[in-house]
């Protein structure tokens, strides 16, 4: 008798596709569908969502087989925790704090993503990046960023 095992990476991938298919499919239904002759904004997305649902289902189905798949492996939790917020942080602060402090803090946040980075070095690195980026982007390329924003004015 064969052991039925499930390749969880594939199954999860399939589920994600199904989820996206449902998300977009339901929203397409809220749009005007139209006819094949004059397609409305919802027609093509609805078709695509349907295809995505079917594909997701097939992937889940094919994930159930008689040999186990390899696992997901190590996750970069610390990386996720510090790398992803970096651009968000930049977005939240670039207008208020201004370009210079925003880029300094963003680099600092990103630097924390590695176990290897020591705090002092992170500060030095962030400082160097800030000086370089300000010279190149703000003075050199003349991008219209405010160097110091309204939050810093007293």
């Amino acid at each position: 008798m064969k052991n039925i095992t499930v390749d969880w990476t594939d199954a999860m991938a399939g589920l994600i596709f199904i989820l996206f298919g449902l998300l977009f499919g339901v929203q397409s239904l809220g749009l005007e569908i139209g006819t094949a002759f004059r397609m409305g904004p919802g027609y093509f997305p609805l078709v695509l969502s349907g295809i995505l649902l079917v594909l997701g289902g097939l992937i889940v189905f094919s994930a159930i087989h008689d040999r186990g798949g390899e696992g997901v492996g190590k996750m970069a939790w610390r990386g996720l925790f510090f790398i992803l917020p970096a651009p968000i942080f930049f977005g939240l602060t670039v207008r208020g704090l201004g370009f210079v402090p925003a880029i300094f803090l963003t680099t600092l946040v990103a630097a924390l993503a590695s176990f290897k980075m020591r705090p002092l070095w992170a500060l030095v690195l962030a400082g160097a990046v800030t000086v370089f980026a300000t010279l190149v982007f703000s003075y050199g390329l003349g991008l219209p960023f405010r160097r110091f924003g309204p939050w810093l004015e007293f």
């Binding site: 093509f44 997305p45 695509l48 992937i59 970069a76 996720l80 977005g91 207008r95 590695s114």
Partner: protein, 501 residues
């Protein structure tokens, strides 16, 4: 001669001091990022893309092309020196290149790679100049139905080159297509899938998507291990290949160029396939097949020529039809659209300077690579020793600035974080991001042509099979799908990619 006058126009454009400078900057930046291990050409270009937007259209595309060649060359450098190919197309180079490096012939291996690439680049550039105009003439006859069928063929072929499961690659394409539709509907003006955020009414930022799913996802993957790399400690050895070495590389170089040029034109992009095909051919033809895997020069010269020729000729479908053959070309389409150029057959007739300027700059870029990189190899090796935990915060900072500078839209930055997470999760679930990017770029075009064709056909879908060119393209699409699902081909395909990893 038309060709000569066109080429001279191209060279006049590409050789203006300004464009030469941008080409040079592109090549250097591309190599610089490309030598960072684990970051392939696509990620490199995605991250450097925003920098080019401040320039004139011609200069910006020339610089992007330069970044592309530079990144590819950088990928080969890491493949040879630390056995870590920046991308799959230089995976083959790593096999024999690294062995050569271990025997103290790293310099020779790098020189052979550079010379092979340059030769292949020269031939392929000529091919592009020869074949682009007639193909453009055909493409001008294309209607909505033909475009739709052609894009379908391109998308399906792209799947053939993705790693792993075909089903997952198909799903990634479809997901990309849907994501491409986010924004305002062109016909009715109705907002679609914007979740009420008006900042997304113009669609999701292409740069944000590319930086997120390629750049950030790659950084996260590199952070998993978080360990130091071992860079080859031994000396590089002499750079110049000996006369005997040169003799041994000529034939593989010629064959590699031929294979690469042909495979590169195919939609779906053949650089990876070309490198593998060339390696297999060389191994089969060699008098000393046992040398392969032990540091055979032919094993470096052939595949390197092939992948560079393929990289070059993959511009043909882009320049003539506006259809990207691989993710890098998809990035070029994105760049052109942001610059206000609609890629397609009209580019050649309406903007000849741009069209021929890009072609000429390909050759100039390749020349710069040889001239620059041979003396600069020492510098690249030093760069390899910079620890990763110092590099990636810098990359993150520049990505943030870059993405923001395109539209000054902070929501693009939030999209970067979202796509970074999505790209990483999908990567962990063994879904290749490349098909998603192609789908994203082609999504709006595909829908527009579908809708137009259906209106022209008065709602009758037989319009796609009634027109001969469209029918041929659809049959080809079907053939590709059938072939991919054939059990024997499927097995072979898996083997190829297992070798690649």
């Amino acid at each position: 001669m038309d060709l000569l006058s066109n080429l001279s126009l191209g060279f006049a454009t590409a050789a203006s001091p300004e464009n030469l400078l941008f080409c040079l900057i592109g090549v250097i930046l591309g190599t610089l990022i490309g030598v960072l291990p684990g970051i392939g050409a696509t990620a490199t270009i995605a991250m450097l893309l925003p920098i080019t937007f401040q320039l004139e259209p011609v200069s910006s595309l020339i610089m992007l092309a330069g970044i592309y060649y530079g990144a590819q060359y950088g990928g080969s450098t890491t493949a040879i020196l630390i056995n870590m190919p920046g991308e799959s197309s230089s995976a083959v180079t790593a096999i024999d290149g690294y062995q050569m490096a271990r025997r103290g012939k790293a310099g020779t291996a790098l020189a052979v790679a550079a010379l092979g690439s340059f030769f292949a680049g020269t031939v392929a550039t000529l091919l592009v100049a020869l074949f682009a105009p007639p193909l453009t003439a055909i493409a001008l006859k294309f209607g909505a139905a033909e475009y739709f069928s052609l894009m379908l063929l391109g998308l399906v072929s792209a799947i053939a080159l993705a790693h792993g499961s075909i089903l997952k690659a198909l799903a990634m394409v479809v997901l990309g297509l849907i994501l491409g539709l986010v924004g305002t509907d062109i016909y009715t003006g109705a907002p679609r899938f914007t979740f009420g955020i008006t900042e997304y009414a113009d669609g999701l930022s292409f740069v944000a998507l590319a930086v997120g799913i390629f750049g950030i996802a790659e950084i996260l993957r590199n952070l998993e291990g978080d360990q130091d790399r071992t860079v080859l400690g031994t000396s590089l050895g002499g750079l110049l290949p000996s006369r005997a070495d040169l003799k041994r590389m000529v034939a593989p170089m010629l064959r590699g160029t031929a294979v690469g040029s042909i495979l590169g034109i195919l939609p779906g992009g053949g650089a990876v396939l070309a490198a593998f095909a060339s390696y297999t051919i060389e191994k089969r033809l060699s008098d000393h097949p046992e040398e392969f895997g032990q540091g055979a020069i032919a094993g470096v010269a052939g595949p390197e020529s092939a992948n560079n020729a393929g990289a070059q000729t993959s511009f043909i479908p882009l320049l003539t039809l506006g259809i990207p053959a691989n993710p890098v070309m998809a990035l070029m389409v994105g760049a052109m659209i942001i610059q206000g150029i609609v890629p397609g057959p009209n580019v050649a007739s309406e903007q000849p300077e741009l069209f021929w300027g890009i072609i000429a700059s390909m050759w100039i870029g390749n020349l710069m690579l040889v001239v620059l990189n041979l003396p600069l190899i020492g510098l690249w090796v030093k760069l390899l020793k910079v620890p990763y935990h110092v590099l990636f915060p810098v990359i993150m900072a520049f990505c943030s600035i870059g993405v923001y500078s395109v539209n000054s839209n902070v929501f693009d930055l939030y999209a970067v974080a979202f796509f970074g997470l999505m790209g990483y999760v999908l990567l962990k679930l063994r879904c290749e991001p490349a098909p998603l990017l192609l789908g994203f770029v082609l999504g709006p075009m595909l829908e527009e042509n579908l809708r137009r064709a259906m209106i022209l056909g008065r709602g009758d879908p037989t319009i796609f099979v009634a027109r001969p060119i469209s029918l041929t393209l659809l049959l080809l699409t079907l053939a590709v799908l059938v072939v991919m699902f054939l059990p024997s081909i499927r097995k072979k395909r898996e083997e190829v990619f297992v070798e690649a990893d």
